[in-house]
Symmetry: C2
Subunit: 204 residues, 2 copies
């Protein structure tokens, strides 16, 4: 079976990174897609772990070369996903997990929709999101307001996703994510489905 | 959260019933949709457990009244799914599991597509399916040939399904099914998604 894709979106502060970290030992071999960005690293962020950090000129050169699966400009910075490592992981039969925004999800669907399972992850309410953003105290007031505004806009796209994980209880959200990752691997994609059927009809 | 639907299709002999029976203690509260049919009960089959058995006249009266979610005529017999118990189970927030054929899946998608997760379940090959059909020795040669012919036709619809479970190793197939059932519950459906968003924007 060829690889498959699991896309996660949801507001910053929804707990996506925490959920993935906790689920990691339970979901088998996967490739977590690392985005490339032109924004400055935050404190503690490492190149090649949190993001590939690059400059706008290099980013635009890669866009021109068609080397991004998806990219977007958010808050004046570029964010994008290089196609090559994703293709390689899929060819190795791996599950590729993406943490991308609503716009990125749309673009990825256009390119590789037949291999994608997607979920929107969110705290139970906008007010709870605000409490979480304030309690982690890594963002200034302007950033918090921008994140909340962005969250209000992103949740409008909820219906575009296959599934919804409400991160109210973290243990439950992790358990749901583990099931989702297991399920996502069962999506063959058009090409692999055709190959499977050919073998199915001919093999003993 | 409102209920959701999980549809399973696949050739007779794929092991769907066995998988569901084994998974039953592991997937929480659900309603297994029982089909109504006009075919004669096989040895050991019970009315209200395996099927609701009825006569062609009653079945056609229910069709005319629009009381079937889906129905089909296969091998000269009617098979169908009454809408009322499905609606009731969904309103109670339950996962509704269907074991229906390709045609039934298509009709259900038209009616309630936004709440459906679906999987095609099959043995690893047509030859293996034939071996399994012969080893269970409940069917005569004509029936076996008809089932094989039907399986060759049904697998052409593989791409219409969200997921594929290859029942090669039963334990693994059960595990995959359990994850699938857990995931299917995360599908809110259009109406529930809208309600969730409204609450999300307004609640503290």
């Amino acid at each position: 079976m060829s690889g498959a894709i699991l896309i996660l979106s949801g507001p910053s502060g929804a707990g996506k990174s925490t959920i993935i970290q906790r689920a990691e030992p339970l979901i088998g071999d996967f490739y977590f897609s690392i985005s490339t960005t032109t924004r400055a690293p935050r404190e503690g962020e490492k190149n090649g772990v949190d993001y590939y950090f690059t400059d706008p000129e290099s980013f635009e050169r890669e866009i021109a070369a068609g080397e991004f699966l998806e990219y977007a400009r958010v808050h004046g910075n570029y964010y994008g996903t290089s196609l090559r490592p994703v293709r390689e992981a899929l060819e190795e039969g791996k599950l590729v997990i993406f943490d991308i925004d609503v716009q990125g999800h749309r673009l990825a669907r256009e390119r590789m929709g037949d291999r994608i399972t997607s979920a929107f992850i969110t705290p139970p309410s906008l007010d709870e999101l605000e409490r979480r953003l304030r309690s982690r105290s890594t963002d200034d007031e302007e950033t918090i307001q921008r994140r909340l505004q962005n969250a209000r806009k992103e949740i409008e796209a909820l219906e575009e996703y296959d599934y919804l994980i409400v991160n109210d209880d973290l243990d439950q959200a992790v358990e749901e994510f583990v099931a989702l990752a297991r399920t996502a691997r069962l999506k063959p994609g058009r090409e692999a489905a055709r190959e499977f059927r050919e073998r199915w009809n001919s093999l003993g």
